[in-house]
């Protein structure tokens, strides 16, 4: 049995996640789409906090809200005038998009709802401490992630160099 507060928090988060993600793909002003994306990412961060993954929630806010959304806003301001509306959608592309989205929703939703019995209540868990996370990330044993960690660092280096090479003035 959950406390009343966490149920209320859950409904606020779920509702804002749904509403803001719908608005992010339907609004005609591109800068607003980026703002609604930011709110959706915050809602996801709250989900991580609710599930006791505090480190992950902090990373979500720092990297997504702090990094990626700022990049989006800069790119939008560089490529379009603020206040511009995107063109109205043709009904054909809207129908195609709606069909694809509804097909995904029905297929995945059916698979999900036909197996609700698998999921029991949230089991008790100690929130992973920074000690656990650091050991798992920088260890070489089973279930430890030194190699992917180093691979990601090489990927980020390649991304920095690639970004500079692609975007510089010729």
């Amino acid at each position: 049995m959950e406390s009343v507060g966490s149920i209320i928090l859950y409904f606020i988060v779920a509702l804002s996640m749904i509403v803001f993600s719908v608005m992010a793909v339907t609004t005609r002003k591109i800068l607003r789409a980026a703002t609604y994306l930011l709110f959706t990412l915050f809602a996801a961060a709250v989900v991580y906090f609710m599930l006791d993954y505090e480190f992950l929630g902090a990373v979500q806010i720092a990297v997504y809200a702090g990094g990626i959304v700022v990049l989006f806003v800069f790119a939008i301001l560089l490529t379009s005038r603020p206040g511009d509306n995107t063109e109205r959608l043709t009904s054909r592309s809207r129908v195609m998009g709606a069909i694809a989205a509804l097909a995904t929703l029905l297929a995945a939703g059916y698979a999900l709802l036909s197996r609700t019995m698998v999921f029991l209540a949230k089991p008790a868990m100690e929130a992973p401490t920074m000690d656990n996370i650091g050991t798992a990330m920088l260890g070489t044993g089973e279930g430890q992630y030194l190699l992917p960690f180093e691979a990601v660092s090489v990927l980020l280096l390649a991304c920095i160099i690639g970004g500079v090479v692609v975007a510089r003035k010729r």
């Binding site: 993600s21 993954y53 990373v59 195609m96 798992a136």
Partner: protein, 103 residues
């Protein structure tokens, strides 16, 4: 009322479907990238929820999400560099009008 995994998976599913809809209907490249981020984020939530509800003593889902966030950041940075480069060459970023690779 008991909040089980399905209560978290359904908003994530709706978020993913919004991403699919936006990716198909949007014509502006940055708007398409925003839809892509929505889809990636929905998948991240799924990883975390499955980890928390089915295998609470392990941390695999959490690490997958952590690396997915890092890769999403790299991908977005590079995609925006490409978009800005295209904008510099073609003066717009509408996918319908960009049908030549070399300007």
């Amino acid at each position: 009322m008991e909040i089980t995994a399905v209560y978290y998976l359904i908003p994530a599913l709706i978020m993913f479907c919004c991403g699919v809809y936006g990716f198909i209907t949007r014509k502006n490249m940055i708007a398409m990238l925003i839809s892509l981020e929505l889809m990636l984020n929905a998948v991240d939530i799924n990883f975390v929820v499955f980890n928390r509800f089915l295998y609470p003593e392990q941390m695999e889902g959490m690490f997958f999400t952590l690396f997915a966030i890092a890769i999403a950041a790299a991908e977005t940075a590079l995609a925006i560099a490409i978009i800005i480069n295209i904008f510099r060459a073609a003066k717009n970023i509408d996918v319908r009008t960009l049908n030549e690779m070399k300007f």
